[in-house]
Amino acid sequence: MSGEEIKKVFMILLEYLGPTLKIFGFTLLYSIPLGMIVALLKMCKFKPVSWLTNIYILIMRGTPLMLQIIVAYYAVPMLKQNENLPAFVQSILSGVNIQNENFMFNAVIVAFTLNYAAYFAEIFRGGIESIPKGQYEAAASLSMNKFQTFFHIILPQVVKRVVPASSNEIITLIKDTSLANVIAFAEITLKAKQQMQTYSSLTPLFIAGLFYFVLAMILTVISAAIEKKLDYYK
């Protein structure tokens, strides 16, 4: 490929950095709070809730994200054709407009969010359970209620403990966004594949790789900075 062509491919991929970052951003936005909720549900003392949560986590972690993306995208149109479903399921399905231009993106976000929330939940649960019992007892002896104890005493300490493991997940996520190409969602990897065919050259793939590499580097630097910032206490 000529220098001119490489520049052209670079500009095309740069244009699709947006959709890649959109998957990344929205997944984080939804899966981190959801992960916290799932972690709390898994620790719920009412066993059926804990079991159901566990099954959800097992499925999400035990099956490929790529498969989950395919299911999320095709499930609604396929199920809509099935007339034997209960009425309430049909009414929910009819509420989803598969002609909507955002449908594909929404399906991607649903799959990514449900998948990443399961991973974050396990990280957060580990973090919460690692806080010594004495912290809860100290808060209780000072008459703090459950809400105050969780948000002011426990959670800030959990945040520090889960930052390293969460950074790992977040760096994995930026690379996992490429899986969205399986349902032909237009992002960097899909475009790089098209350009590879157009030019019969591997170079577009290397350029795509460079994009992910730079993004991963940026995230690594940010997470190191956050870890350093939280290092004011042991």
Partner: protein
């Protein structure tokens, strides 16, 4: 005036009875020490009064408020949660392992509860906190984090933290057990000063000499029951029970 009345208190973990028929009354300004071998139920007793453990039976009255009572059916029931919260504010607790909040500096550790729980003005609470720190000889550590302090300093901060809620009573659960021997003195001095100010205190301790010095009453616990009880003179004197003498002799020897 009685500050704490415990009547026939019992506590079981599963089928293991760890407290049996414990009764005693602490009056205002008194200092009680609870001694006894490990596993005798000393800490569990303190934790039951502090609502960190649920008692299985008996009655507890704190500062005239019923915390645990036998209802008409003879069942042991706790007061409503608003009353329990009120009662808890009357008792400050100092832990063996300090349990300071590691992510907050010393000042914040002390001010957090008065500001959040009592909704007091932060500036006012900080003034009180600085006075308490001055009293503990730690005024220069207000901005330090717990990890930067020695064990003795951390324990003094935790005493200041408990005092910041202005409790009627202060409980200590083996306050010097996690400290190096050379650091126990500073904690014992703080407790003595508080006793001199008239603070009502219940102290679970292994420091026999200290218990003898500072306490008005000593409870000797063994196997979940009060095996012996009395003034230091009575327990450390010639007329104490054989078992008490035997237990105490182990401490005199080393």
């Amino acid at each position: 005036m009685s500050m704490l009345e415990v009547r026939n208190l019992s506590k079981s973990f599963g089928s293991t009875e760890v407290l049996k028929d414990i009764s005693f009354t602490v009056n205002k300004g008194e200092v009680w020490a609870i001694i006894g071998p490990s596993g005798s139920g000393k800490s569990t007793l303190l934790r039951c009064i502090n609502q960190l453990e649920k008692a299985s039976g008996g009655e507890i009255n704190v500062c005239g408020k019923e915390m645990l009572i036998k209802n008409d059916n003879g069942k042991t029931v706790y007061a409503p949660s608003s009353v329990l919260r009120d009662i808890r504010l009357n008792i400050g607790l100092v832990f063996q392992n300090f349990n300071l909040f590691p992510h907050m500096n010393v000042l914040r550790n002390i001010t957090e509860a008065p500001v959040r729980v009592l909704k007091k003005n932060r500036a006012e609470v900080e003034k009180v906190a600085m006075e308490l720190l001055g009293k503990m000889g730690l005024a220069d550590k207000a901005k330090s984090y717990p990890c930067e302090l020695s064990g003795g300093q951390q324990q003094r901060v935790s005493i200041a933290r408990a005092l910041a809620l202005q409790p009627e009573m202060l409980f200590f659960d083996e306050p010097t057990s996690a400290l190096d021997p050379e650091l126990t003195g500073e904690i014992l001095k703080v407790i003595k000063d508080l006793a001199a100010e008239g603070m009502t205190m219940v102290i679970v301790t292994h420091e026999m000499g200290f218990a003898r010095d500072v306490a008005d009453h000593i409870i000797f616990m063994e196997g979940g029951v009060i095996a012996d009880e009395g003034t230091p003179e009575e327990l450390f004197g010639e007329n104490a029970s054989e078992r008490t003498k035997q237990f105490l002799s182990r401490f005199k020897n080393n």
